[in-house]
Symmetry: C2
Subunit: 374 residues, 2 copies
């Protein structure tokens, strides 16, 4: 298709363009607008969404979860069966493994996430561990495979969405079969009526519309396990699997935006920069903040982290002087992992946790600043 600006005169630079495939994905898969970092629990509808195929239509009355494979007592449960079991509630930050992909150069063509593929929900569910214990794991069990009701085609492979999880992760006390989100039944797009929640792992692990749990004696070799979600340097590299979320801090952009360009304008004077930070590997140790594009850094003030698996609020004062500034924030966790300044490139565009950079113009007259040339 041909392009024109709103004013009708200019073609745009092809080096900065996104494909129609990416647009179709971006129109379906919702990012969280980053001003929503102000909420410790993301309001329903602002939590990010990545849906591989279509949202399946699930009839609650006929829905069942089957637990089978390498167990002594295979079993099938209804949603009511699951809801009468002991319940746990946990605030968990989730992030798509592709978050930040659209900043990679060259850019892998898939869901073109900027930085919004995240959110924190309060999940209610029943611990998976006790269900597996009651089913009776056989001695040769090594992994647990989770099958969703979403069904489609990917790289020529027709499939139900399926992921495997090492047995030790499945048996963690925090691993939930969740049927409620922020105190309400799961919405269709978040996996109604049941989904897996594995705190600390990237989003692809948390299988939605979960209908089957299969304990297996061999590592799972399905599409999403061995082709998708690997860090590869090139197509011949077998790569390493994507697992837990790398540390990341994000900031609420201060000031006000321009509608089209999202360029930010900030009044001169005293401001409090705010954001949240998380890591799937360990609690957050520190968030450092820079207001000069990363040349100098100051320690942000951390709020108490509500749990080991939910993001941690941080803030930092800033006296804004007129002119252009680049604001950055950088998390380090208790395991010593910290965000890189340079983007960690890989073929699939996964786990890009390079520091966020926000360009702002400090001025008393935002309306008088010329729009940047497109």
């Amino acid at each position: 298709m041909d392009l024109m600006t709103d004013a009708g005169e200019d073609l745009v630079d092809a080096a900065e363009l996104i494909t129609e495939d990416e647009l179709r994905l971006a129109a379906r898969n919702h990012g969280m607008p980053l001003e929503a970092l102000r909420y410790p629990i993301t309001p329903v509808g602002l939590h990010y969404l990545l849906i591989h195929y279509d949202i399946p239509e699930v009839d609650e009355a006929s829905f069942t979860l089957t637990i089978a494979g390498r167990v002594r007592r295979p079993t099938t449960l209804t949603l009511a069966d699951l809801q009468t079991r002991p319940a746990a509630v946990a605030a968990v930050t989730m992030e798509c493994a592709g978050n930040g992909r659209a900043h990679l150069k060259p850019r892998p063509i898939s869901q073109p996430w900027l930085l919004g593929a995240t959110g924190t929900a309060e999940w209610t569910g029943t611990p998976l561990r006790s269900l597996l214990e009651e089913a009776g794991l056989l001695d040769d069990a090594v992994e647990v495979v989770f099958t969703g009701l979403d069904h489609g085609v990917e790289k020529g492979v027709e499939q139900d969405y399926q992921r495997g999880l090492p047995l030790a992760e499945a048996m963690r006390t925090e691993t939930l079969l969740a049927y409620a989100m922020n105190g309400q039944p799961l919405l269709p797009q978040h996996g109604f009526p049941l989904r897996l929640v594995v705190p600390g792992w990237y989003g692809m692990t948390n299988v939605k519309w979960l209908t089957r749990i299969t304990v297996v004696a061999q590592p799972f070799a399905g599409y999403q396990q061995v082709r998708g979600y690997h860090l590869r340097t090139d197509d011949d590299d077998p790569g390493t699997p994507v697992t837990r979320m790398m540390p990341r801090a994000l900031m609420v952009a201060p000031g006000i935006p321009d509608f089209l360009t999202r360029r930010r304008f900030v009044r001169p004077g005293s401001h409090r920069l705010r954001g949240r930070a998380w890591s799937g590997w360990a609690p957050i140790r520190a968030v450092d903040v820079s207001v000069d594009g990363g040349r100098t850094w100051a320690a942000g003030q951390l709020e108490a982290q509500p749990s080991g698996f939910a993001w941690c609020g941080w803030s930092c004062s800033w006296t804004a002087s007129p002119g252009d500034h680049e604001l950055c924030c950088r998390a380090i966790d208790e395991s010593g992992r910290q965000q890189p300044l340079d983007i960690p490139w890989n073929v699939g565009g996964y786990a890009n946790n390079a520091v966020q950079r926000i360009h702002v113009t400090v001025t008393d007259q935002p309306g008088d600043v010329l729009e940047p040339a497109v």
Copy 2:
């Protein structure tokens, strides 16, 4: 930024590309995945969202709505004041005036909607009419201006989001000040704590985060009224204002998708095509369906339309034979307005209600069909 496919080998055709400005908007502004047409009331979080600036942070306790201007008794109300007034509940279909913009050639650069900028919610609120009557309209009142708490810059103009509405529309009994959506308090992104709902009009009319209602004696000349939301043939054309939603039918794409391309695969045999249709001008009279790209049409079966302002379900049987097919649907309303086959171009890319076209491949072996060359 440079581009590559997931397999690492190809550059893409620049003629089909989307700008970074458009991607930033697409990442913030959520479309409804069209399989959600299956729901008569769109689940929370799947309803489309267009947010000009940032979602404002509103403190319910200190929130007020002021009614002022050309009235005898200016007044200020709290949310509790509004909630103790007579309440009305209405299912209303809403659509962004820019829905379909990304299909225009050349493409105006703004929020690049495909076809998902729609949704139907059940709004609860209090009728505006009685509030205006109690305030006492002065004889010279001609329009009502609605001001939201969202604030930003657009084409060099710093502004609160504001729209004017002719007095007769403001005084319609269906026009609501809504504080609940689908039975729950408004979510932040849908205008918490209060928004305007004018059934039948495109989305820009339904001012969110509504804090001020000003009755005026002259037509409102703010940015969103005289620069935005006009149908113009070129930049020198004063144009005509965008008002009510043009008729549109949409279909749930049958079959299953390919993840990346959203290409659809359907099993051979008997299927029921389903969708919904609406118009802001009049109830839906008919939805016609074509399975041969618009060469021949058959009448779809209409469900009862739940109200004059909510979409109407339709369906049509289809016997799918192997091969490629183009499915289309086309609404006509009781005013005689019907969807065009050709796209109605205008500078701002508004009100493109050309018929939807869905390409499907009917096959027993979706996984064996080669992916299209990128």
